[in-house]
Amino acid sequence: MKLLAKWPSEKAVRFACLLGLVALALMVAGVLLGTSLPVVASMSVAQGIGVLAGLLYVVTVAAEAARK
């Protein structure tokens, strides 16, 4: 709970947005380029980064709820 109370929500959400954009860019590259490395990255690394961005968002929402 202490960690959630000190959670830097604004920064975390902005970082999540950046991570989300990186993940989306990798996924789009996989679809558009269609060669081995981009396709494999779009189905693995990109989705991992996307999950991380989503988790940051969830923690931020939880932190905001805990503060209230």
Binding site: S9, E10, V13, R14, A16, C17, L18, G20, L21, A23, L24, M27, V28, G30, V31, L32, G34, T35, S36, L37, V39, V40, S42, M43, A46, Q47, G50, A53, G54, Y57, T60, V61, E64
Partner: protein
Amino acid sequence: MSPFGALALLTAAIAGALLVHHLVARPPLTLATRLRLLLGLGVFPFLCAVATTGSGMERTTEREFCGSCHVMGAHLKDVEDPNSESLASRHARNPMFGGHACYTCHADYGMLGYPMTKLTGMSHVWYYYGGGYRHWPLDKFLAEVRVAKPYPNANCRQCHSGTLTSFKDAKEHRAMARELEENTVSCASAGCHGVAHPFSKRKDEL
């Protein structure tokens, strides 16, 4: 572009626009902002990930995908040559194989065939980028690299089932029925139907 690919681009564009808007406008974290972020960081990226996976899985069954690594260039060239008499090229000219010729012949079949084929494909990507094949000249690759395990006759028999009289009546098939069943003699070997990619073999292998 496949429907999966189009869906991936559409959802990525929507999610990207929502995220860029948040980064530029920097709105306070009100309920409306959180809902917008739920769409931009949750719903649309999830849809994009699903569509990307569908598109990627489809793409990895295409001939051009296999040929996108330079060490497969000779295989791709031979398969696309309308005058080639190789076993692989003759099969690729069949519309049932066509643009998916590599996958149709090399995919494992059975219940776990699809994921096992994809896992094997991942090892090829690893060898290419992590194992140094990427920097190998084509001559060296063709001289030194061979298929990882004997080509299973069961793959041939997905189409050439071996139950027709014309198959059973061939004296070579009758004489080697056991070896064919046990995969100790390959359909695609010298003396039988010939190797699938003859240009990739040394003279003593033909």
